[in-house]
């Protein structure tokens, strides 16, 4: 187990290094820079700006400088927000996205697993069809359709919530529902598939033969195996949901990290692009590691191998 974790961490660090290097050079080769704007700054001002941010040094020197400050945990200053550092921006916005993500995930799991389980247990009944229809709708209708529709109904027509913003606790409801809905759909389908497979296995039949109640069979015996596909899906999904959703954050004007992730590339905010990419990469690697460990615990057939 320890060997597995050490080996995977080392692999992840290597992958992270590749990601950082590739991102650093790719964003630099994109046309345009952080200081190109509709109104040009004079050549003198541009030179001052580049000198301030060290952009006048050779690229390899900038790369080494960046790695050096990264090793000290410093992600550098933002170009777009002149008096803020990337560390500050991430510290400000990641908790917002994480809070929204956690709420949405809780909702998605509760709804998705319940629906998926019901669909599997009552396979080919109207319950199954309803749940499957829900799954198809959830997967095929994008959040930028559901989001504004819910806002029209609940915020503008009924006046229950704010149409956008992140000011009071009630502002969490609509975005968490919309984002959760998008994740609940695949979770319900994965749960259904996993449960169907498990419910056919011998140990379930044995449990039934022993007279175990159907409810207990589902909750105690089948779910653990039936949720395996969901768990492997959750690794990247949790990383995605925690680091924010550009679309949801834009529709509801949420000050999360998801918008920075996209906008920093448009702004050519080199350091912020790198900061958000590193954050995302680290989260995905860490969560995939967690998923592997959890899967081994849930399914004795899975072995952890470095």
């Amino acid at each position: 187990m320890l060997r597995f974790i050490t080996s995977r961490t080392l692999q992840s660090l290597l992958a992270l290094f590749v990601v950082i290097t590739a991102t650093f050079f790719m964003i630099r080769f994109v046309p345009g820079g952080p200081f190109t704007a509709e109104k040009a700054v004079t050549p003198e001002i541009l030179a001052n700006l580049e000198a301030h941010y060290g952009l006048n040094k050779p690229l390899w020197q900038q790369y080494l400088d960046y790695l050096g400050s990264l090793a000290r945990g410093d992600l550098g200053p933002s170009f777009k927000y002149p008096n803020r550092t990337v560390n500050e921006i991430i510290a400000d916005k990641l908790p917002v996205s994480a809070e929204l993500g956690a709420l949405a995930l809780a909702f998605a799991l509760a709804l998705g697993i319940t629906l998926g389980t019901c669909a599997a247990v009552y396979r080919n009944t109207w319950i199954d069809y309803t749940a499957s229809a829900f799954g198809m709708i959830g997967i095929s209708v994008p959040t930028f359709v559901i989001g504004p529709l819910l806002v029209l109904l609940c915020a503008i027509h009924l006046g229950w919530f704010n149409a956008s913003g992140w000011y009071v606790p009630a502002d969490r409801v609509l975005p968490a529902l919309v984002l959760g809905f998008a994740y609940a759909a695949p979770i319900s389908r994965l749960t259904r598939g996993g449960m169907l497979e498990v419910l056919h296995q011998d140990f379930i039949r044995t449990a039934r033969a022993k007279g175990v109640s159907e409810f207990r069979i589902v909750t105690h015996h089948a779910l653990r195996g039936g949720l395996l596909p969901v768990v492997s899906y959750l690794g990247p999904a949790v990383a995605g949901i925690l680091t924010g959703s550009f679309v949801i954050e834009t529709i509801f004007t949420i000050p999360g990290i998801g918008r920075e992730f996209v906008n920093s590339a448009f702004n050519r905010d080199y350091t912020l692009v790198l900061g958000t990419v590193i954050l995302y990469a680290v989260l995905i690697m860490a969560l995939n590691l967690v998923v592997d460990i959890v899967q081994a615990w849930m399914n004795p057939k899975v072995r952890l191998e470095g």
Partner: protein, 568 residues
């Protein structure tokens, strides 16, 4: 309806099947039977809750004199010397005040920190007399020295302020900023005593007072800035709430990035008796659709934008909420005159004549824009260009024939480049069609992401380029300077000695009539040479609650907050 789950083992099958089918059958029936009643209850609940709407932010704001303003884009910074955007300017005008400020109706310069001023007969030396009761939010008086140190800060090269060149109007400022003269005492800004400031200009400039209302000319509290880092370097976090010291009618209470900026009335402001708003909340909502929804939900008194697709619906259904104010900006295409056949003025002229601007603004954009036949928007500080580029298809075909392309025959396919945006696309498509129909010329449309377009513009790698220009101050010079040969914003490769000379002379002419004549001459040259194609002058289209009072139409979209109030 309910079918038993198939079993692998027939021995156990029937028993299990029966159990399952009975349970599902009964369960589903029971829920089905309850469904209509549940639905009715839910609907009743929804409609009841609909009647019990909460008080909206706008309603409460009207009672408490709190203005909720959408500012569009994210406010990146509140340091007056480092900001460049419109959203930042709209917040800073509440927090800081320059030597002069603006009349809410016509933007005429009126006393700000300076209670009066004198101008020397040659139009070069301004002497400002500061009022005794102008205060910083920490209680200290605003002095002439504060302005001198502030001008010195923005002109210091290490700060790398984007708009430092606006101060080049001050004598010697350019040399100091470019490092050729490191001695600030040779720059034309001197504090004669704590309440007297003398500013010496490089050349007479009738728009100088209007320039002073812009953030780069605001005083900043140097002592406070130095407490949080170097005052002459970027990355100093002195503008955070609790640290920032300001001198305007409002003080900063809260700044949550991408959420809200809250400013409250400053009791120590010299003109606090005039200020009627108790607070302003600024919301940076960068999605126009989200902003419009927030307005409809009663969260905003006014928006910064309106989605183009909704303008007609508002005009039809709630015209009292829609405002279309003329705005100091022009939308145009640049021609790259270094590239044949665009190096031929007759070809450029044919393109410029063969555009139905009226159709573009009334049929394509529909936001009340004005067709542009010149570069400077009409009525800019009393100036309206006499020369104009008309719309005349017959003349267009004729000059094109004279250039050697009768009926567009033999004309190469040109590329029209625009940055990716729905609005730019529909305009470009309309013009592509007009040129095809009227001139027989085929133009290829290409769109690129904004920064890529800007890189192509700088490298001169385009043929026809979508562009625009928003004036920095109320004067034709802010537009005409764009196409000066040595302007960093020209980009067309076009240069004209007489044009440059006319602008140079205008900048050194104190007599307003003679100056206007020189500017007219320059604009006439520009419109005869057409290195660009004027399309329309901007309007600022936004939504405004009728409860907001004192929000006057003006070209710069500046609304001094001390003259704004709310009437429920």
């Amino acid at each position: 309806m309910s079918r038993p789950v198939p079993r692998a083992n027939p021995a156990l099958g029937p028993l299990a099947d029966r159990a399952t089918s009975r349970r599902t059958g009964v369960g589903s029936l029971r829920i089905l039977a309850r469904l209509p009643r549940l639905l009715c209850a839910a609907l009743a609940g929804l409609s009841l809750a609909g009647c019990l709407k909460r008080e909206t932010a706008v309603q409460r704001g009207n009672r408490e004199q709190v203005l909720h303003r959408g500012v569009g884009n994210e406010v990146t910074e509140l340091d007056p010397h480092l900001v460049t955007g419109v959203a930042e300017g709209n917040v800073l005008r509440a927090l800081f005040e320059g030597l002069v400020t603006e009349d809410p109706v016509d933007l005429r310069p009126v006393p700000g920190v300076a209670e009066r001023w004198e101008l020397s007969p040659d139009g070069l030396v301004y002497t400002f007399f500061l009022r005794a009761n102008a205060r910083w939010s920490n209680g200290e008086p605003v002095t002439a020295q504060d302005f001198v140190t502030s001008f010195r800060r923005i002109l210091t090269p290490s700060l790398a302020a984007d708009y430092a060149n606006l101060l080049y109007i001050l004598q010697g400022a350019e040399a100091f900023h470019k490092g050729t003269n490191p001695d600030f005492s040779r720059v034309g800004a001197t504090a004669l005593d704590p309440r007297t400031l003398r500013l010496t200009l490089e050349h007479p400039a009738p728009y100088f007072l209007s320039l002073l209302t812009n953030p780069p000319f605001y005083p900043v509290p140097l002592a406070t800035i130095s407490r949080h880092g170097s005052a002459y370097q970027r990355g100093n976090p002195w503008t955070r709430p609790g640290r920032i010291v300001t001198n305007g009618a409002f003080t900063l209470q809260k700044w949550q990035p991408h959420q809200v900026i809250v400013v409250e009335k400053f009791a120590g402001y010299w003109d606090a008796a005039t200020v009627r708003l108790n607070a302003i909340h600024f919301y940076p909502i960068d999605s126009v659709d989200a902003e419009e929804r927030a307005f409809r939900a009663g969260q905003l008194h006014l928006t910064e934008f309106v989605p183009v697709g909704k303008i007609d619906a508002y005009r039809r259904d709630s015209p009292h909420l829609l405002r279309t104010d003329p705005y100091l900006g022009t939308y145009f295409f640049r021609f790259n005159v270094r590239r044949p056949p665009l190096n031929d003025v007759r070809v450029r002229r044919a393109f410029a004549l063969a555009v139905d601007r009226e159709a573009i603004v009334t049929k394509v954009l529909r936001g009340g824009q004005r067709p542009a036949h010149a570069l400077t928007p009409p009525g800019t500080a009393g100036y309206t260009a006499v020369a104009r580029v008309p719309t005349d298809f017959a003349a267009a075909r004729q000059v094109l024939a004279e250039a050697g392309f009768p009926g567009g025959r033999g004309f190469p396919t040109l590329e029209l480049l625009y940055n990716t945006s729905e609005n730019h696309r529909i305009v470009a498509e309309a013009i592509q069609e007009m040129w095809r129909r009227e001139l027989g010329i085929e133009v290829r449309l290409t769109n690129q992401e904004m920064k890529v377009t800007q890189a192509a513009r700088r490298a001169g790698e385009y043929q026809i380029l979508r562009s625009d220009w928003i004036g920095d101050y109320l004067d034709p010079a802010t537009f005409l300077e764009v196409f000066r040969s040595d302007s960093g914003n020209n980009y067309t490769g076009w240069s004209h000695r007489e044009y440059d000379a006319a602008l140079f002379a205008a900048a050194r002419t104190a007599d307003p009539v003679a100056r206007a004549a020189l500017l007219q001459k320059a604009e006439a040259i520009l419109l005869a040479e057409v290195p660009f194609l004027p399309l329309y002058h901007y309007t600022h289209v936004f939504l405004l609650q009728p409860s907001v009072k004192g929000w006057h139409h003006n070209l710069l979209d500046h609304h001094p907050y001390k003259h704004v109030w709310l009437e429920p």
